[in-house]
Subunit: 209 residues, 2 copies
């Protein structure tokens, strides 16, 4: 990581703002995250940076194996598969592919034929088209469930899941299931989550490549 | 608005989830937003829906003229100008243009020449290239300040600003300045804000076209 890339900053002004922001964040959540590994701390700090919501220090849970497995996948330039385009376009400066298939015509057919959501169908489509890498969901619990299901069946070559869908209905259940799985994962407890959380997590890892 | 488009849902399953979510949200924030106009209520409900954070009912402020002015602009298919691509790709189902110039080569030159952020330069670039419509900032306080500055000088044809940048440094000041201006606006008080808030606000209006 170069200084200029600190927390996504690309200019001197941006860097100064990011530095001051990080000081404020450490004042707010430093105690809560003091036992995390450095790369895990960076993930949580960046999530709080991009939401201005210190509650995420309590809500984010990172499995012990997540950072090592995800970093290895990213170092190999494996694919980052996102559930929605907003997440895709938030992930920057990655040398590998960042893919989102939700608007793919084939995905629409799969969704219709199997009566599943397009978000779930997009994961299935990826699994049938040589996907290898990390699944990132900031929106759709059905994408998380589908990825877990395909993983259990040995039908998807995924290494880790960033599963942080947001919402009062269904989201918390999908994240709890993921947290209790043997898949390397990051989740947010309860209804909170969303695009900025997913993006912050992935960009934090990319910054350390 | 068709039933199928309720809160962005595009399938029966999505519609059921959105309906249940809205019930929960009304239970959480119904009292706080009871004096708002219907279209304003929808904006706040959709923001809470997309963040699962009921605190936004307290933080969102919508100027009296915002909904009428913004709806007129959108009905005329005027341009929606966003500060970052994440916001652009979250805005769906709009018949007009949704533009983001942050990666434009000309914008990079303007930023370098005038020593301003690319986000600010992108607003200036739009003002010099026949922009007419709504400015939407989910990330960069400098975009909000630049849009306000150009508006005061009569150099940008903007009708309203959705100004909800997030962050512990600078964001709150930009939003307070916008709130106190005579530009039709939506802001979030304090550091909180971000892409999902910007997107929810705009998509809520689009849904009512």
């Amino acid at each position: 990581m170069t200084d200029q890339m600190f927390m996504g900053a690309s200019t001197k002004q941006g860097y100064d703002i990011a530095t001051k922001s990080r000081e404020i964040i450490r004042g707010l959540i430093g105690d809560e995250i003091k036992d995390l590994k450095p790369a895990e701390k960076d993930i949580v700090e960046r999530i709080v940076h991009s939401t201005a919501d210190p509650e995420y220090a309590k809500l984010v849970h990172i499995s012990d194996d997540f950072v090592d497995v995800a970093m290895k996948s990213l170092r190999n330039n494996e694919t980052i598969l996102t559930d929605i385009n907003m997440v895709k376009y938030g992930i920057t400066r990655y040398d590998g592919e960042v893919e989102c298939y939700i608007k793919n015509e084939e995905v629409k057919k799969i969704a219709k034929e199997h009566q599943i959501t397009r978000a779930a169908a997009a994961i299935r489509y990826a699994s049938e088209n040589d996907f290898e890498g990390i699944v990132v969901s900031g929106n759709a619990p059905t994408a998380v469930f589908e990825a877990m299901d395909l993983y259990e069946k040995g039908e998807i070559n995924l290494k880790a899941i960033v599963g942080v869908p947001v919402g009062f209905v269904g989201a918390a259940d999908s994240k709890e299931a993921l947290r209790n799985s043997n898949i390397p994962n990051v989740i947010t407890e309860g209804p909170k989550g969303g695009t900025p959380i997913a993006v912050a997590c992935v960009n934090s890892l990319i910054q350390h490549l």
